[in-house]
Amino acid sequence: MTLAITDVTKKYKIRTTGAQVNALNGVTIVLPAKQTLGIVGESGCGKSTLARMITGLEQPTAGTVTWNNEEIFDKAKNMLSSKHSKIQLVFQDPYSSLNPRQKIGEALSEVLTVHKLVEKSAIPARIDELLTEVGISPDLAHRYPHQLSGGQRQRVSIARALASQPDLLVLDEPVSALDVSVRAEVMNLLIDLRERLGLTYIFISHDLSMIRHISDQIAVMYLGRIVESGSWDAVLENPRHPYTRALIAAMPDHTMVGNDLYEAPLAGEVPDPAAMPSGCAFHLRCPIAVPSCAVNIQNLREVEESHLIACQEVK
């Protein structure tokens, strides 16, 4: 069973100005089961759009997303194909991911009844099981979301996703909105669940330090394209693309105290996606850019075993 994202592009039209925005420009990913792909990138890089494509919330303008060689998006019914609830999404904001007027127990039982996974009589037991599995005491089942902390709510969201027994969990910035100490607990929960249930993860974040802890494969995105991808060791131990190197350098590191980390920051800002720069989108900010970078489109090419980058200047 593998997730295959082939040459996915997504274009949006901004209503007021009519401008065309390319949120994704030909993204290709192959992820075997039980593996975890970490996708890192800053705002506007298209990582959340990709999450919507993988979970079938929206249809790609071009390219396909298949799980187990079955298309995620059912073109006929113009919605996600029902037989694929094997892919679930966990959201960033714990405050808007649960229905405020629904008790958390009801949220879980609703999934179980809709998918008829469990006999009606066995539902309460299954709910307790799910809650315990994510570290929430079952007697909180009758509580409303606003009576739980951010960390607890995020755990309930994970439990709801697990209720439909998925194979692939897409985690879109799952811990970014949590406090530092709570973040560690939820990360450990995700790592334990993966081992116990043999899950495949796509972990999306702007925070490279979280990505390090959980990923097997890494993909670095910039303005709708993958600029570097490969195994954990390749990308994090031996980053080659200038943007990846700038990202790693910009990570605040509490273990290196008092030295001047902020001497050479990456210049400039992410360009407006409606006015994409020509050639390599990073060339305006890139420390090693040459004139031809503004002309040639950079495609991913293999630099070493399981390590691809999209940059002509790096040999």
Partner: protein, 280 residues
């Protein structure tokens, strides 16, 4: 800890409680009058005691034909409440359905729904009601229909707005990914979260409906004599008020109390239904 019901929050809001009492009083009066329990028969004339001030026999005094003003006010209130309840329920039903369907499904349907409500919004309420009533007639059903047509777009807007924002919330996306059918998503996830503004609007619209109904009958286009209606009584009192203040004072008081009561209930609902405003 026993989870607080909505009602316990409602009782915390002073305006909600006062409003509730006023509205209850007005409802009881309407029901009593519907059952015929009024101090005097609103239609029987007593020319001998015409235009008498408030007295033991006639608590609110009598009008130019010697009819008991209190009984006529009760009957008038019944009529206003009836029209307001019927009109607002129709407007809510039609408006909310159109609003939610337009908001959720969008594209062509949404365009039509918005255009339709823009058209009706282009008419000041009283004017549109006036035009419709003159075509239909003056029975309370016609007035209710006229007011219902005027308020439907308000409910379209009050329902459509929140649906557009709730539709984008993560928990709606989550249940869609979980494969829930559209009706299930609509009824168990979208509707419960768009109800509060609608319920508040029902209370406010009922108060406006009373104003519009009495306005119409003031202009002589609503209830026809000799039946009693608060607007008509005020209209008849125009020439009498100089020397018989009670003919003007009591019908006006009834209308104002009903409208104030419903507005306060609207505030009470707003304080209790909106989680952010709930005092912790």
């Amino acid at each position: 800890m026993k989870e607080k019901t909505w009602f316990s929050y409602y009782l915390k809001s002073i305006s909600g409680v006062i409003g509730g009492i006023l509205v209850l009083v007005m409802f009881t009066i309407s029901i009593l009058s519907a059952l015929g329990i009024t101090p005097h028969d609103p239609l029987i004339q007593d020319p001998v005691n015409a235009l008498q001030g408030p007295s033991a026999q006639y608590w609110f005094g009598t009008d130019q034909f010697g009819r008991d003003i209190l009984s006529r006010c009760m009957d008038g209130m019944r009529r206003s409440m009836l029209v307001s309840v019927v009109a607002v329920s129709i407007a809510t039903l039609v408006g909310v359905i159109l609003g939610i369907v337009g908001g959720y499904f969008g594209k062509f349907l949404d365009g039509f729904v918005v255009r339709f409500s823009d058209v009706i919004f282009a008419f000041p309420a009283i004017l549109l009601a006036l035009a419709i009533v003159n075509s239909l007639g003056n029975s309370w059903i016609d007035t209710s229909l006229a007011i219902a047509v005027v308020y439907t777009p308000i409910f379209i807007r009050v329902a459509r707005g929140p649906v557009l924002s709730v539709k984008e919330m993560d928990y709606v996306k989550a249940v869609r990914i979980l494969g829930f059918s559209t009706p299930k998503v609509l009824f168990s996830h979208i509707l419960p979260n768009v109800l509060p503004p609608i319920v508040i609007q029902v209370a406010l619209s009922m108060s406006w409906a009373i104003l519009t109904e009495s306005g119409l009958s003031f202009l002589g286009l609503g209830t026809q004599p000799p039946d009693a209606s608060l607007g008509l009584m005020v209209s008849e009192a125009q020439s009498l008020a100089a020397f018989a203040w009670w003919t003007l004072a009591f019908p006006s008081l009834f209308i104002t109390i009903a409208v104030v009561g419903l507005n306060l209930v609207g505030d009470g609902l707003r304080d209790s239904l909106d989680p952010a405003r709930r005092s912790s």
